[in-house]
Amino acid sequence: MTKKQKKVLYRIIITAVLLVILHFVPDLGVFTFFLYLIPYGIIGYDILKKAFKGIRNGEVFDENFLMAVATVGAMALALYEEIKGGTGEFTEGVAVMLFYQIGELFQAVAVGKSRKNITALMDIRPDYANIEKEDGSLEQVDPDDVEIGTVIVVCPGEKVPIDGKIIQGSSTVNTSALTGESVPRSVSEGDEIISGCVNLSGLLKIETSKEFGESTVSKILDLVENSSMKKSRSENFISKFAKYYTPAVCYSALALAIIPPIFNLILGNPMAFDVWIIRALTFLVISCPCALVISIPLSFFGGIGGASACGILVKGSNYLEAMAKTKYVVFDKTGTLTKGVFQVTKTYVDSEWAKTITTANGAEATFLSLAAYVEGFSNHPISKSIKDAYGKELDLSRVTEVEEVSGHGVKAKVDGVSVAAGNQKLMRALGLSCPADTGVGTVVHVAIDGVYAGYLLISDVIKDQAKEAIAGLKAAGVKKTVMLTGDNKGVADYVASTLGIDQVESELLPADKVTWVEKLLNQKEKGENLAFVGDGINDAPVLSRADIGIAMGALGSDAAIEAADIVLMDDNPIRIALTMKIARKCLTIVYENIVFALAVKAVCLVLGAFGVANMWMAIFADVGVMVIAVLNAIRCLKVKQ
C-alpha cells in the first residue's frame, strides 16, 4: 500500500469505529446531526472537495459529484426528519461514503498489485553493465552510457544488458523472460547474444553491437509498455458510454426527485418529497460507472501481461480483441512451419553397389563419407548439409581434380577414386540411370567409380510442434488454414498434407503473397479476422496487410518487431493457438464484466426507482459489483500453458 492508500485506510478505520460508538449514543435530537458530521467529515472531505472543484471547473458529472450529492442529500434528509421531531437515519449518509471509500481503496490496491505483478513478469530491464577496468576489477555503469564496441562482462546470475557478440567464455543462458522457453540455451565464443537473457553458469565477455536503447530488451519493454495505448473497441465503447451515461443518470435522478411529487400535488395526494428524494439519491449511488471503467482496461492489461510471460508480445488491446475472432490463419512455410534449415532426411544406397563394398564401416558410411568429400570444397547450403550429415572433420588433401559442372553437380577424385555427385542430368551425362521416385526435396545422386551408388535426399525439416499447432488452431475454431510459399509444388504439397493444412499455394513471389492474402480477405465474412504468420524477414508487406500480423522467432529481428502486431519471441508455432486462447479468455472476461455490471445496475436502478432497493443495496450495486468485476478481471493474468 502506498502512503496515500494507508491514509485512506486509517480514515476508514476511524470512521467505522466512530459509527459503532455513535450507534450506542441515545438520540439527542438535532445535536445528533453534529455528532455524525464528525465521521462524515473524516471519511468524505476529499470527495466533497473534489466534487466542489469539479462543479467550479464545469466538470459536473463525475463519481465524486454523484457521491457528494447522494450523501449530502441523505444527511440533509435525516436532519429534516430530526427537525420534524422524528428520528433521522444519519448512519446511511456516512455509511455510503464509508463503503464508497472502501471500494475505491480496494480497487486502488488491487489494480496497483496486479500492475506490479505484470511489471514483475516483464522485469527484464537490466540496471547496470559491468566494464572491466585495467587492474582487472569490475565497474558497474549505466547501460545507457555504454558505447558500441565496448567489452562488457556478465557474471553468472546477471542479466545480459546489451546485445552483442561473445568474445570470451561459454555458458548457458536462460531466455525465459524473452521467450517463455524454460530450457536454457548454451552459448559460446563467437555467438551473438541478445540482451534480457540471464547468464546461468560461466563468465562471459561480450563485445556490444548495439546501444542500450536499440537493444532487444529496450525494444521489448517499450513495446509492452506502450501496448495499452492502442485501445480495443470494448475500451472505446466504455469511454463513450461513460460520457453519456453519467449525465443521463443524473438527469433521471433529478426527474425522479421532482416529477412524482408534482404528480402527487396535481392528484391531490401528499407530495412525499422526502421519499422521492431518497429514491433519487439511491439511484445516484447505484449508477456509478466505476466497475466498467476500471475492469475492462485491467482485463486487457492482464491478458497482455499474461501473454508476455509466455513469450507472446501483443502490441495493443485491439490486437488481442482481433485475435479472439480469428477464423483464417495464413502461414508462410519456411521458418514458420519448417525449420528453414536443410538437412539430409534420407540416405538411399543402391543395393547392387552396396554388394561391392567390403569395408568394416558398411556401405552406407562409405557412401556418405565419399559424398561429403566430393562436396568438400563447396559452400553451397546443400553441400553444407551433406557435410553436417557426415559430421566428421574432412581431410581435404584426399580430394583431387575437383571439377564443378555448372547446373549439374561436382566431380572429383577421392583417394584416387572418381566420385560424382549431382542431379539426374549429371548421372545421365555419365551414362547412368537413377531411380525417379525419390521423395520430396532436393536429391543428390552419387556415382562412385563409374557406378551408380545411391542418393541423398535433402529437405527442410518440419518443426516438431507444427502438426500439433495446426490441430490446436482447428480446435480453437479456426475455419481455414492456408500456406503460402515460394517453394516448389512438390515440397509445398507434402508439407501441407503432413500438417493437415486446408489450402496451399506454392511457387509464389513475395508480391503474390500479398495478392493471395487480399483474395482471402475478400472471401471472409464480416467479424471474422485473418491472421498471417511469418518469420518476419521478408514478409513485412503481408504482415501489415493482414488483419493481424504475427511474426515468429523474432528475437533480434527489428523489422519483424516493427511490422507485426503480435510477436512470438520463440519460433514455436504452437503459441499461435495459445495466443488465441488467451485472447478468447480475456474477451470472455470483458464481456462477463460488461454484462454483469450493466445487468446488476439496471435491475438495481429499476428497483431503486420504485423504492424497493434501499441505500444498502445501492452500495452493493456500486462497490460490490466493482470488487467482483476487478477480481474477475485479474483472472486474465493467469495463463494455462
Binding site: K53, I118, P289, P297
Partner: protein, 73 residues
C-alpha cells in the same frame, strides 16, 4: 511528433477524463492515456512547441482531475 509522459492518476475514469481534456488542447493532434502503465502519449501538431503545449495539457488535466500529475521533463 509523439512523446510519452509518465503520469500519476488514481482512478480509471479520471484517466479517461484526462485523455479527453488533453485532446482538446491546441497543438495536440491526439492523446492517449494508459491508466495501467500510468503513461500519457501525446502526438503534437506539426510545428507545435511540445513544452508549451504540455503546460496547457497539464492545466487542462488539472481542471478535470485535481489529483492528477504529469511529469514533464
Amino acid at each position: 511528433m509523439k512523446k510519452t509522459y509518465k503520469i500519476e492518476v488514481d482512478c480509471a475514469n479520471c484517466a479517461l477524463k484526462m485523455e479527453e481534456a488533453a485532446k482538446t488542447v491546441a497543438g495536440v493532434a491526439d492523446a492517449t492515456v494508459a491508466f495501467m502503465t500510468q503513461k500519457m502519449k501525446v502526438e503534437f501538431v506539426e510545428g507545435a512547441d511540445d513544452k508549451e503545449v504540455m503546460q496547457n495539457v497539464l492545466k487542462a488535466c488539472k481542471k478535470v482531475e485535481d489529483d492528477c500529475e504529469i511529469f514533464l521533463d
